[in-house]
């Protein structure tokens, strides 16, 4: 119980720090959003103060001293009110984020879980069959593919499987002619569109899990209790899975938590290539259009989801490994 309370307190403290950082970040940077807009106008001639005031009012540039801004900001965050998007005016930032979130969560989330399971299993196998082709192939292959830039894998996949072989649709989350509903036709359309981005993420991320698990496993295999289990004449598969892998998976779980949290933001490069209407693509649009309210809200959401995922993994870790519960 004490463990849980302490973790919860830390979570709240970190969340507060992240929220405050999100408040400070734009204020530490040179210029305001209005400056950027005025700079564009100034290319056509001088901008008079009245125009400037009008632009500032339109963009909702905060007034007042830093403290009252901060209080107001905290209030807005607690109501999930992030203002109105500049780019997709007059839609509110919250609506935009809520529309984009499910696409990312389902597609990227599922692939991340699949990649973790496949990669961990291959890693166990590689460590157990050390020195054979079952080790060399996944290890070298994983090293190479995990060095692939996400966007490059995406471009190649689009080019060969999409444009050349025409196996899958190359852009968006569903066809232009279909409208979102819960019919079977629409769902299969969505799955068809998810293949390529999913494949991209799988190819690029599976290697890291293989390498991590293999390394942990090799360390665990050298431990005395594994040798003891072997000496007892237990079947080698029992030793590998029930003795070694069970302990070796612990560090990988932390990585899994981080990457689950990163699901929401990490897929930015992939979503950008596929024009997949998820959170990453939205963030990309916000950045290229200098849509500061949207950018700030997305960034906060990404950080908070990382925090929560970490928190959950921490709790799970405490259950699995009692030594950490000190």
């Amino acid at each position: 119980m004490w463990y849980l309370l302490r973790k919860l307190g830390l979570l709240l403290l970190t969340a507060w720090a992240a929220i405050t950082l999100n408040f400070l970040l734009p204020r530490l940077m040179p210029g305001t959003p209005a400056d950027a807009a005025i700079a564009k106008l100034a290319q056509n001639g001088p901008v008079d103060p009245a125009t400037r005031a009008a632009i500032e009012a339109q963009l909702g540039v905060p007034t007042g001293d830093a403290w009252s801004q901060y209080v107001q900001y905290l209030g807005n965050v607690s109501r999930l009110d992030f203002g109105v998007s500049y780019t997709f005016f007059p839609q509110s930032v919250s609506t935009l984020v809520m529309n984009a979130l499910p696409w990312t969560l389902v597609m990227v989330g599922l692939v991340t879980i699949i990649a973790f399971v496949v990669g961990t299993l291959l890693g166990v196998l590689a460590a157990w069959k050390r020195g054979t082709w079952l080790d060399t192939l996944p290890t070298l292959g994983g090293t190479f593919t995990s060095a692939f830039p996400y966007f490059w894998t995406a471009l190649l996949v689009v080019f060969f499987l999409g444009y050349q072989l025409k196996w899958f649709p190359t852009s968006g989350a569903y066809g232009l002619e279909s409208t979102p509903n819960l019919s079977l036709a629409f769902i299969s359309d969505v799955i068809g569109h998810a293949w390529l981005p999913a494949l991209t993420i799988l190819i690029t991320s599976v290697g890291g899990w293989i390498l991590g698990m293999r390394n942990n496993m090799i360390n665990t295999l050298g431990d005395d209790y594994v040798t003891f289990a072997e000496a007892n004449g237990l079947r080698s598969r029992t030793v590998a899975v029930k003795y070694a892998a069970r302990n070796a998976i612990l560090p990988n779980l932390t990585g899994f938590g981080l990457s689950l949290g990163g699901v929401v933001g990490g897929s930015l490069l992939v979503e950008q290539v596929f024009n997949y209407p998820g959170v990453g693509y939205l963030l990309y649009n916000a950045v290229t259009n200098q849509d500061f309210p949207l950018m700030q809200a997305l960034f906060l959401m990404l950080t908070i989801s990382m925090l929560l995922a970490n928190f959950l993994v921490d709790l799970l870790y405490g259950l699995l490994d009692p030594r950490t519960r000190r």
Binding site: F148, F151, W152, F159, P251, L269, L307
Partner: protein
């Protein structure tokens, strides 16, 4: 919030090679000044003896050579654009030409400069911060350590790429310096965490106690007694940080953040996808820059296989079960 390290903890099997510095310096140092040189060459031999690492070293040297001798190797300038547009590979343009009429092969060669430079500079700076923070954090106890713990965990949970592009969007004035800045800003924390846990385990060893009794200051103990024992771990985090820096730079350039007129592998792909190279079927233009990024990043990871073997003999090749 404790985020455990995803790397295998070094088992601490490296015997500390530094003898305790007693106050009575009557005992002669067993190794003279040649010691560090000998350690270096022995380390290099360990890395070289690993087959994977050897491939990595050769690959890395090839890319470094490509970057240094770019003007001699490239047949044309990187931004020379007087050629035909969207040409297929030919004798005069090995990899074809871009939509703006530039020679793709020359761009690849010059692009190596950006990636190698960013990788080394950002990798070095991240590692420097990681060493200073990680070692002090591992050595000191008390409230300051808790504060550092909090800050590092905060930096670790902030998603890297989104933070980079958000900062880049605020700063607006692109360029390599900004990219290196954001890469370092987000890249140091992971290394700091790894180095801290190793420092904590070394902190309890006898030779540290001896140094403390001899009256050495904290800074001297951390950087003269503990640091030399972590060479392999630091080397490892350097290559790790350089790898992520290279990947991050290419990602940012691909998104068109920063200076898109700088010819780098990432910006080549930015222009390629913006000029619909997918539709014109120029697969070399798509294939080559990404392959170079992947190969350069792989070479660093491969070298790290050898570096792992420095501190952890279990990970050395040929010592399997």
């Amino acid at each position: 919030m404790t985020v455990a390290v995803n790397l295998p903890e070094p088992t601490g099997s490296t015997p500390p090679h530094q003898p305790p510095r007693g106050a009575d310096t009557v005992v002669p140092e067993p190794h003279g000044p040649a010691s560090s040189l000998r350690v270096l060459s022995r380390g290099a031999a360990t890395i070289w003896s690993n087959k994977k690492a050897r491939i990595g070293v050769v690959l890395l040297l090839a890319f470094v050579a490509l970057a240094i001798f770019a003007p001699l190797i490239a047949p044309y300038g990187a931004s020379e654009n007087g050629f035909g547009r969207n040409e297929a590979p030919s004798g005069s343009h090995w990899f074809g030409t871009t939509a703006a009429g530039e020679d793709v092969f020359s761009q690849i060669v010059f692009g190596a400069r950006i990636s190698v430079l960013v990788g080394f500079i950002a990798g070095f700076l991240s590692t420097l911060i990681a060493v200073v923070v990680g070692l002090s954090w591992g050595y000191i106890r008390g409230p300051i350590a808790d504060v550092i713990n909090f800050v590092v965990n905060l930096v670790l949970v902030i998603p890297g790429l989104p933070l980079m592009i958000v900062i880049a969007a605020y700063l607006q004035n692109g360029g390599m310096t900004m990219i290196i800045f954001v890469v370092v800003l987000t890249g140091w924390a992971y290394g700091a965490r790894v180095l801290r846990s190793q420092t904590q385990s070394i902190r309890g060893r006898d030779f540290i106690t001896a140094a403390q009794f001899a009256g050495d200051g904290a800074a001297r103990i951390v950087f003269h007694e503990i640091l030399p024992n972590m060479t392999s771990l630091i080397t490892g985090s350097f290559f790790g940080a350089a790898t992520s820096a290279i990947l991050a730079e290419s990602g940012l350039s691909f998104l068109g953040i920063g200076d898109t007129t700088t010819v780098s592998w990432g910006s080549m792909l930015f222009w390629a996808s913006n000029s619909n190279a997918l539709l014109t079927g120029q697969w070399v233009l798509l294939f080559a820059p990404g392959l170079c990024i992947a190969l350069l990043a792989t070479s660093l990871t491969l070298i790290n296989f050898g570096v792992d073997g420095l501190s952890n003999p279990r990970l050395r090749e040929g010592s399997g079960r």
